[in-house]
Symmetry: C2
Subunit: 289 residues, 2 copies
């Protein structure tokens, strides 16, 4: 990022008057920076980076699976199982589908591009897999919302009054918007390259933001449900097994979110054509983005 040539156009006008001028030292004649820089990672370092990635990815898969298993066990073992008849058993689909769709599938869909094995291959199949995983996640989330709206309506319970519901519905609405804009922006061949370049950082940031919202909605939802159902003989404050199990599910969800955040935030694990410098300058953008 610090290389440049004497022919760089912005030297005289910006070197001494702009807060970012140190970014432009090369353009102002630092000859040492004109030499090719050894910016590749050494072999052991790259090998270590790939190994750590796969450890994190395995952890991501394992934690995701654990979240899905735990939310199913909670609702089948302690909450009576599942039905689609407007009863409390219909409500039980809500946590299962939201955790599976809006957290686990969503998080796994977000990290697809980071798998190093895919980097030497054409990006299109991986774009399609990303879009397909996200569509499946979105469908599960919408069915999960239908489960709770239908249950509320049949039992005369108002909808969308709690903070949990505000955050959850916002996460799902942003997710639906993100999927449609992502589809139009990155998969339709007629979308101009300039628009894709503009959209990409917003898509990546909002992707992380939706995960933040979905985790906040999950934690507040599990917490609220446990307060609702653990009353009488078995209050939540008495540390009953269901309370401890539900809390453990919440901790697993947060741990899953932290691992996804780790994978997304490590610049070494970005698909190379998506690195900032390539996004701004690489001709790959015209072939693959």
């Amino acid at each position: 990022m610090h290389q440049g040539g004497p022919s760089s156009p912005s030297c005289s006008s910006t070197c001494d008057c702009f807060p970012l001028r140190h970014l432009n030292t090369a353009a102002c004649g630092s000859e040492t920076l004109l030499k090719p820089q050894k910016h590749e990672l050494t072999y052991p370092s790259r090998m270590g980076s790939v190994l750590i990635f796969y450890l994190c990815y395995l952890l991501c898969l394992g934690l995701g699976l654990a979240c899905v298993v735990c939310v199913c066990v909670w609702n089948s073992h302690w909450r009576g199982g599942f039905a689609w008849d407007g009863s409390g058993l219909q409500f039980n689909w809500h946590p299962v589908l939201m955790v599976t769709g809006l957290v686990v599938l969503y998080g796994n869909g977000a990290v697809v591009y980071r798998i190093p094995l895919t980097w030497g291959q054409n990006k299109l199949p991986w774009k399609l897999l990303h879009a397909a995983l996200m569509l499946l996640a979105l469908i599960l989330s919408i069915v999960g919302l239908c489960a709770v709206f239908d249950n509320h309506n049949k039992n005369n319970i108002p909808n969308l009054y709690s903070l949990h519901s505000w955050i959850g519905i916002t996460a799902t609405a942003l997710f639906a918007m993100q999927w449609v804009v992502g589809m139009a922006g990155f998969l339709l061949p007629c979308t101009p390259m300039s628009l894709r370049k503009l959209l990409k950082p917003i898509h990546v940031w909002l992707g992380g933001g939706i995960l933040l919202l979905s985790i906040a909605a999950s934690i507040s939802g599990i917490n609220e449900k446990l307060f609702f159902v653990l009353k009488g003989n078995q209050t939540y404050s008495g540390f009953p097994s269901e309370g401890v199990f539900g809390n453990t599910l919440g901790v697993l969800i947060v741990a899953f979110g932290l691992v996804v955040l780790k994978i997304l935030s490590n610049s070494r694990w970005q698909r190379p054509d998506s690195r900032p410098e390539d996004l701004a300058y690489s001709p790959l953008l015209q072939e693959e983005n």
Copy 2:
């Protein structure tokens, strides 16, 4: 990141057998990549980037202030104000101090390095400001925890049984650990450079992770409190003014988190000596990190 020289040592052994080999094309003799690359942003692009940063930063300050004002108004106007006598008025310090410390001050402390005006200056004063803001945030969070533990103990309410409390105590414990390790790792002059290099990505990732936990804890806490107190004539499900106000506070907290995430995730707004390529190779590391 894609430059290299013919003398790069890892060429023959890795070019055709390693999943990251395309990162090393330059080292394998791609002559076009030996030329100096024009990686600086053009002046209008840099100017635009700086302007957008300051808009985001203003939004971050504005949303942070709005969160603090709202949480104070909620607890003074609807919850009866503040005291330190073990009563419910003592509990009211808990949301105020946690939102102010663990969310707003913490988020503002995290983005200090991103302010472009500071980039041309010595990093040490900004490190000290980062550490001081984080210490103040940590102290407020710990006092906020004391408020609720003391209130629970004096009213024979068990501690740490809910998912909200598990996530909140984990966030504060990780924050305390992060502050101590950050202090030892980045401010003590005797810490080896190799250890700083190792710690930095973990510090940055865990920093984002703690914000995720603190937002999840805040949302679940506000949601839980509103269910606790909005009963009888004014149930939460009847959309009373306190419920809508509390939900709005939750939305402001999430919006603040999204803006902080936006500032942290934009690689153009990273202090230059912290960009990935500099972290790995720049001699600046030995002067400033």
